[in-house]
């Protein structure tokens, strides 16, 4: 998985804290690996997992870059199946002091805004906080509110993707 570092970085298109580059896994080399790892971790058959071949590489070039609380959209994989259920982050850099991804508690009213990726304002309880560590793969459900804390050791680079876990 460390080889994901060699991915070419496409020009950034959006003005945001994180530079985004886009990569399409044309022959499924990465998708097979991610599916295999997720299947092994969850203890489910790999056939139940479909990985979206569209990846984004997020790079927080400067210290202090963060992302406010949000939920991820369920993406359609274009195969007439259900949309994605989980988001995964593969960290490519270390940041033991900051840059953590936190899973947050849910507030009433979130459901209505979730379609747009938004959340209601209000204080949330941090349930988990995961610091970036090169090679660490973090899987979370799309619909769980989460945020990215300000980066301390820049740059923070991660690969973001989605997968679908078919519910039996």
């Amino acid at each position: 998985m460390q080889l994901a570092r060699t991915l070419p970085v496409a020009p950034a298109e959006k003005a945001a804290c994180a530079d985004r580059s886009y990569f399409y896994d044309a022959d499924g080399a990465f998708s097979r690996r991610f599916a295999g790892v997720a299947a092994a971790a969850w203890g489910v058959r790999v056939e139940r997992i479909t990985v979206n071949p569209l990846y984004r590489v997020l790079s927080y070039a400067r210290a202090g870059g963060f992302l406010p609380a949000h939920v991820d959209l369920h993406r359609d994989l274009g195969d007439a199946g259900p949309p994605t259920t989980h988001t995964f982050l593969l960290y490519l850099t270390d940041d033991p002091a900051g840059g953590s991804t936190s899973l947050l508690s849910v507030l009433p009213g979130d459901d209505a805004l979730a379609v747009l990726g938004g959340l209601v304002d209000g204080a949330r309880q941090t349930l988990y906080a995961i610091h970036p560590k090169a090679g660490r793969l973090f899987l979370m459900p799309n619909a769980c509110p989460h945020e990215a804390a300000p980066v301390v050791c820049a740059p923070k680079v991660l690969v973001r993707g989605e997968l679908r876990l078919v519910v039996l």
Binding site: M1, L3, T6, L7, P8, A10, E13, S21, Y22, F23, Y24, D25, A26, D27, A29, R32, R33, G36, V37, A38, A39, A40, A41, W42, G43, V44, R45, V46, L54, G78, T85, H86, S100, L103, S105, V106, L127, Y128, A129, I130, H131, K133, G135, R136, L137, F138, L139, M140, P141, N142, A143, C144, L165, V167, L168
Partner: protein, 611 residues
């Protein structure tokens, strides 16, 4: 490998140049011509051949007589046009044609191909000036100006400029006001009237304030309470109530006095039009200085007055925009500069901006990213040509043509407007505005093409390609072209896209190209370097037991995903050694953490080691 060709000197062959008049043999071609000019054919002398520069307006509808040759494309049409002009010269003057030269040849689809033809005439009688040239031209061709080029230094320079590909040629696009007017002012009381006096071809500066003030009286309309003259043949009339104002509009609009026609409309309407004019002007000024000449925007011309009343909302107000023709680097990548294609794209872009489909700042990206608006209709593009240039260059053209320079200019403008305001052009502009209002841009077309290619919808791909707006090699944010998507999905539409000129070697982000998925096993290009480094696929993972007792956090998360992991039927407990081996392998691969935690994940990070 470079090859050198050595041509040996040929001594055995001596070409013979024979005079067709006297049969004398000459050793070289120049010797033969020296002989001809001196003895047998004095008309070959330069001073005996007279060059006539004819500026022709060609609106694309002219009957040139040979439909087959016209179908042969712009080059064939140009030949027919030159032939028609030369024949007309011969018939008008009785001289013979020594040579012809096309000075300006516009791009295809413009509706106008060539508009300056230089004809060298021999044996011209002094009394046979081709004044009646237009009578001998086929219908649809108009002589805007014709003048002899003498042997003076100035004329020689002019001839030199003409016989090169003249860069000063201009494409003229007529943009209807209605295309960009957005009338959303509801506050006007309708008591104010705008009047403007026009001549065919434009406003007349000779119309003064006194004329404007007298206009209501002459037109037998009610006298306004106040008249505010703008000083440039327009005025603002204020009436006491909206009813008498609308009556005055009905009286004044279309009233003709001498050559001057009055145009009257409600102030609100005029304001919307002037606002649209300003917005278009600003949009064009922001678009590109390289493309638009300084005096690009001409005044609105009102010629098709009857048409206005017939069609109602599609008004007869047009802005003529002159766009520099040709020139600039071609086929060097990047957006095109100059030429009809650029003109059409810029006009489409400007209209898109005026109608709010694109932001004004988007025009600033034209140079770097190309245009993503629909192109203006080809039929709205006409060539004004060099009438202005010739008239400016030398007033002596009045010597050979009765038309004064100002008149020639006016007629050229009238031709442009007449051509652009015909039913076909108007319909094309209507369509353009409709698609812009419906949100269509070039970018949207690109996306539609990619989607259709990805789905393998051959019919849709063919339709989009035929429409001609979508760029076949446009990429999405992942660097994927339509061909790439079709190739990855294994769709047969790749043939259509390849025919349309799609590049199979264009790499998406990451280095994959369409050729990787199109070619046979042996002919495939090497995969990207990073892919070769991870060439071995991992072994298929084995099934594992899920977590037996999710803690409170897991339960929260699971509630939100609706992911019923706890409902997963647990398999038989694996043996201890197997479990240990898997744990070791997981550690080798990298630590795994996931929200719906398992024992393995938690141990991988140590107890409570998630933060």
């Amino acid at each position: 490998m470079a090859m050198a060709v050595v041509v040996g000197q040929c001594t055995a062959y001596k070409p013979q140049h024979t005079c067709t008049h006297c049969g004398a043999q000459h050793a070289s071609r120049s010797a033969l011509f020296r002989h001809l000019r001196a003895q047998c054919d004095p008309t070959l002398n330069k001073e005996n051949a007279v060059k006539l520069a004819v500026v022709v307006a060609y609106a694309g509808d002219a009957n040139l007589g040979d439909d087959d040759a016209r179908a042969g494309g712009p080059a064939a049409t140009t030949q027919l046009l030159v032939k028609a002009v030369a024949d007309a010269c011969v018939r008008a003057s009785g001289a013979s044609v020594a040579s012809t030269h096309v000075a300006v040849s516009t791009e295809k689809h413009a509706g106008a191909r060539a508009n300056v033809v230089v004809v060298a005439l021999r044996g011209l009688r002094p009394d046979s000036l081709p004044i009646g040239l237009h009578e001998h031209l086929p219908q649809g061709l108009h002589v805007l100006s014709a003048r002899f080029l003498t042997n003076s230094a100035a004329d020689q320079a002019l001839a030199g400029r003409l016989t090169k590909r003249v860069r000063r040629c201009a494409h003229v696009i007529a943009v209807p006001y209605a295309a960009i007017v957005k009338d959303d002012d509801e506050s006007d009381d309708g008591q104010t009237v705008f009047i403007v006096a026009t001549l065919p071809g434009g406003r007349d500066p000779a119309v003064d304030e006194a004329w404007i003030r007298a206009a209501p009286r002459v037109a037998a309309a009610a006298s306004p309470d106040t008249v505010e003259s703008g000083g440039e043949a327009f005025a603002r009339l204020s009436y006491g109530d909206a009813r008498s104002a609308s009556k005055a509009v009905a009286r004044l609009d279309g009233h003709v006095s001498g050559d001057v026609a009055l145009q009257a409309m409600a102030w609100r309407e005029a304001f919307a039009k002037l606002d649209a004019h300003k917005r278009l002007k600003d949009a064009l000024a922001g678009a590109s200085r390289a493309v638009f000449s300084g005096a690009s925007i001409l005044r609105p011309a009102s010629l098709a007055r009857d048409d206005r009343k017939a069609t109602g909302d599609w008004r007869d107000d047009w802005i003529l925009v002159r766009v520099r023709g040709g020139g600039g680097p071609v086929n060097q990548g990047g957006p095109p500069r100059g030429g009809t294609r650029t003109a059409r794209l810029c006009m489409g872009a400007a209209v898109a901006v005026c109608r709010g489909a694109e932001g004004a700042d988007w025009l600033a990206t034209l140079d770097s990213e190309g245009l993503s608006a629909p192109a203006a209709p080809a039929r709205a593009l006409y060539l004004e040509g060099l009438a202005l240039y010739l008239a400016k260059a030398d007033a002596r053209c009045a010597d050979v043509d009765e038309a004064a320079p100002e008149d020639a200019r006016r007629r050229a403008r009238a031709l442009v407007v007449a051509g652009a305001t015909n039913a076909a052009s108007r319909a094309a502009w209507c369509r353009l505005v409709c698609v812009i209002d419906a949100g269509a841009t070039r970018k949207a077309d690109d996306e539609t093409l990619r989607a259709a290619a990805s789905l393998g919808d051959a019919e849709a791909v063919a339709t989009i390609l035929k429409a001609g707006r979508a760029r076949v090699d446009a990429t999405d944010e992942y660097g994927r072209t339509a061909l790439f998507l079709a190739a990855v999905a294994g769709r047969p539409v790749v043939d259509l896209l390849l025919e349309a000129g799609a590049d199979p070697m264009r790499a998406a982000h990451g280095g994959w190209t369409a050729q990787h998925f199109l070619a046979d096993e042996g002919a495939r290009p090497a995969p990207p370097a990073w892919r070769r480094r991870i060439a071995r696929d991992p072994p298929p993972p084995t099934v594992r037991c899920p977590s037996q007792s999710p803690n409170a956090i897991d339960a929260t998360l699971l509630t939100h995903t609706g992911d019923d992991q706890t409902a997963e039927r647990p398999g038989p407990p694996p043996r201890r050694r197997q479990r240990r081996r898997r744990r070791r392998r997981d550690r080798r691969r990298g630590r795994l953490i996931f929200a719906a935690g398992t024992h393995a994940a938690r141990r991988a990070c140590g107890e409570g080691g998630l933060c």
